[in-house]
Amino acid sequence: MLKYIIKKIIFTCIVLVGAATCAFLLLHAIPGDTAEALAGPQATVEDVDNLRRAMELDQPLGKQYISYMGNLLHGDLGYSYRTNKPVMDILKSAWPATLQLAVCSMIVAVLLGVPIGIFAAIHRGKAGDTIAMIAAFLGVSMPSFWLALLLIIEFSVNHNWFPFYGREGISSFVLPSLTLGLGVAANIARLTRTSMLEVLGQDYIRTAKGKGVKSGKIIWVHALRNAAVPVVTIIGLQFGVLLGGQVVTETVFSWPGIGRMIVDALNTRDLQIVQGGILILAATFTIINLITDLVYALLDPRIRYS
């Protein structure tokens, strides 16, 4: 196991170097010049040239890459072209905001999705199943922007129960977590249902039933554990989606997270921030994959790592 973890960590480092290189090359390949974007459409050619020289953007690409990677090894992600703030400082404030929101949303999603999926599986073909799956279908297809505004109007404007601006106190997590969590819950519910149905048809479940084991135990202990591997996979994947794909929700709720930061920075060609953001997301995603892999082993002893 330890050997496996060490191997994974080395692999993670390789992934990060790859991600940094890809980010660097791709960002320099997109149309639109950084110095021009920073100087704005009104700047003269001299203005842009002065700025380019002052920011050392006139250096050859290879030289810029070597200096970027060199700094990266020292843990220096550079400075934002636009604000001159260290990228690390900006990430330190944006990344926790995104991570906290992703964790809260995932808690909402798991607490709702898994029970609904099990419920639908047990009541297969009955009214409960149909209702649960229609709800899940709605959850998957509802645009988060629209859902967010509905929640704001009902719970903030009409009733003033929860704030809908910024990140102050637990209550500010409620609406954004629901907005993000409901969609993911719907995915988890559908997958849990399918996976449970498959397991419930297995011989050992029939055996357990025949032995007179209580149905609650059969479902929660025998079936769920075996149905859990694909569910854990989707949780891991959806967590990645939650980390990188919250832009709309972060915008509506003025959440100072990383998705919004990357999109804003991309629009202004503040490439240092985009690179830093991509790196930290890549790192988080690889770590989540690692954890997911380890959880498989704990869930299913047949999965072993050498």
């Binding site: 010049d33 050619v45 002065n50 700025l51 002052a54 404007v157 930061m261």
Partner: protein, 532 residues
């Protein structure tokens, strides 16, 4: 027993998988919240002792970029800087020049040296004195080519700054500069405390020290900017203790926060939101003109658009009132000059009234009785309703036999590609931030300014070049105005662009707030704000 253990482990793992990722940050979140609550308590303690309104919450769509006014290039950040710094002179709401840090000024007989008498007893936020040396330091910093200010060109006419005595400064130019005062109103001409430049070095961008009505307190990237009142402000301390500029990018959220009373002011709400808010008695919507002009740059150097008659047809074929009323909800005025009425030197030259038959005739005269086919490039989301405006233009042109295909672009990519000149037409806006015809016309119509500079229509008329050159160095206001009037008329007749409209701006605030100045340069001044 064993099975119960298993189920507990399973639940535990799920929780662990989530909490392990959150782990550390969970604690940090709590600490952050505690800190915020402490700050909140402190704030309310302060406000109890203060006589003035304790806070003003202003919602802004975009975050600040840099608090170094010499490097700032976006009008959203200029709003913050304008409330922290002063210039020598400033615009009022009618775009007239008023004294700011300079009490009075005069120009030498040879028209090359301007003498400014400075306000006395003014102090920077760090306690140091404002004086002629500070003016010299700030302007020389902007003009330092190695420093790379992206707005150096605004002050580039200045060749020498001399501190005559503590409160007198001479500014010299090599040739007379007619727009110097307007240039000194530009945000890049803000006066920074020389001591702060020494103290903070490269970190000056997050440590602004000016003489303005408000002092910088704190900036949380992507969240909020906090300013506090400068009790020693030389024009009288403002009546609000603290101003919180909060970043709320979504228009609908800004409107809802204002409506529910959780904010006092909302900047830059689109017409869809202001229309809805207008019926709310607790909200005031203040509308105003801007110096901006929207246009379609017709590529004067390419294909059929080289023909003046075709370009005129492009103008006659469009009913701009339809765009202004139906798409922009009345939040614009139809163009009758290349520059807006709030730009110094504006002259109502001529309007292309919509006349589809005339457009068809002009096309036929030009040799295209069966119509023409062109491509319109448009940015997406850069200007208010830009895509809709382009689609409407396409439909209107179609009626006159001008078949237009639209190509949508991300703005920075568009600007890069436009430089290469391979386009037919491109929808753009121009906002002369010095508020003067020199910046309104010279960069976009002088033939020396072809891309990569801003004459993106590749417009070339030697008469206009000559007029713009002479007006640049003319100091007599009337003579300058006449030259610009003639240049504007020629540009309109040449149909260098398809002239569209001048966008308006809207400021929305709670009805207990008053005294906010909204300038046509889209700057919002809070020094006289009051809140009941």
């Amino acid at each position: 027993m064993k099975r119960r253990m298993c189920s507990m482990i399973l639940t535990g793992i799920l929780v662990f998988a989530l909490s392990a990722c959150g782990g550390d940050s969970g604690n940090k979140k709590e600490t952050d919240q505690e800190q915020k609550q402490e700050e909140k308590t402190e704030q309310s303690d302060d406000s109890q002792t203060a006589q003035v309104a304790d806070e003003l919450i202003v919602l802004t769509g975009s975050d600040a970029s840099t608090f170094d006014p010499h490097f700032c290039t976006d009008s959203a950040t200029e709003i913050f800087n304008k409330n922290i710094f002063n210039n020598l002179v400033r615009f009022n709401e009618d775009m007239e020049i008023e004294p700011d840090l300079a009490k009075e000024w005069s120009i030498s007989e040879d028209q090359l040296t301007w003498t400014f008498k400075l306000e006395e007893g003014v102090k920077f936020h760090d306690g140091t004195d404002f004086n002629a040396e500070a003016v010299k330091t700030s302007f020389e910093r902007v003009l330092d080519e190695n420093l790379g200010s992206p707005r150096r060109s605004v002050l580039a006419a200045i060749t020498k700054i001399e501190a005559v005595d503590e409160h007198t400064v001479n500014i010299s130019t090599d040739v007379p500069c007619g727009a110097l005062l307007q240039q000194l109103c530009h945000p890049v001409a803000a006066i920074i405390s020389p001591k702060s430049l020494e103290d903070y070095g490269e970190e000056i961008s997050t440590h602004p020290v000016g003489t303005g009505a408000f002092k910088f307190v704190e900036w949380k990237t992507g969240e909020e900017l906090v300013l506090e009142r400068n009790p020693e402000y030389f024009k009288g301390a403002p009546a609000v203790e603290k101003v919180y500029f909060r970043v709320v990018p979504e228009d609908a959220t800004r409107a809802l926060l204002l409506q529910s009373g959780q904010a006092d002011v909302a900047l830059r709400l689109p017409v869809t939101e202001t229309d809805r808010l207008e019926s709310d008695p607790n909200v005031t919507i203040q509308k105003g003109d801007t110096v901006m002009t929207m246009y379609v740059a017709l590529n004067n150097s390419k294909g059929v658009l080289q023909d003046e008659k075709v370009r005129q047809a492009m103008n006659y074929a469009v009913d701009k009132d339809v765009i202004v009323n139906d798409i922009l909800g009345g939040m614009a005025t139809v163009s009758d000059s290349p520059i807006s009425p709030y730009t110094w030197g504006y002259n109502s030259s001529m309007k292309y009234e919509c006349d589809v038959e005339k457009a068809k005739e002009l096309l036929a005269e030009a040799g295209y009785p069966d119509g023409i086919e062109l491509e319109l490039w448009t940015p997406v989301g850069r200007y208010l309703m830009d895509t809709q405006v382009s689609e409407n233009l396409q439909a209107q042109w179609e009626k006159a036999g001008i078949h237009v295909n639209i190509r949508q672009w991300e703005f920075q990519a568009l600007m890069s590609e436009v430089k290469n000149g391979g386009f037919d037409m491109v929808l753009l806006g121009w906002s002369p931030s010095t508020g003067d015809a020199d910046q309104g016309l010279y960069p976009v119509f002088h033939s020396s300014q072809f891309p990569p500079n801003s004459n993106r229509a590749f417009y070339n008329n030697p008469d206009v070049d000559a007029l713009l050159d002479s007006a640049k160095t003319e100091v007599d206001e009337n003579a300058r105005k006449d030259m610009y009037a003639e240049a504007e008329k020629t540009i309109m007749e040449d149909a260098a662009w398809t002239f569209l409209y001048y966008p308006k701006q809207a400021l929305s605030y709670r009805s207990n707030v008053s005294g906010i100045e909204m300038l046509p340069t889209e700057h919002i001044m809070l020094e006289k704000v009051t809140k009941q």
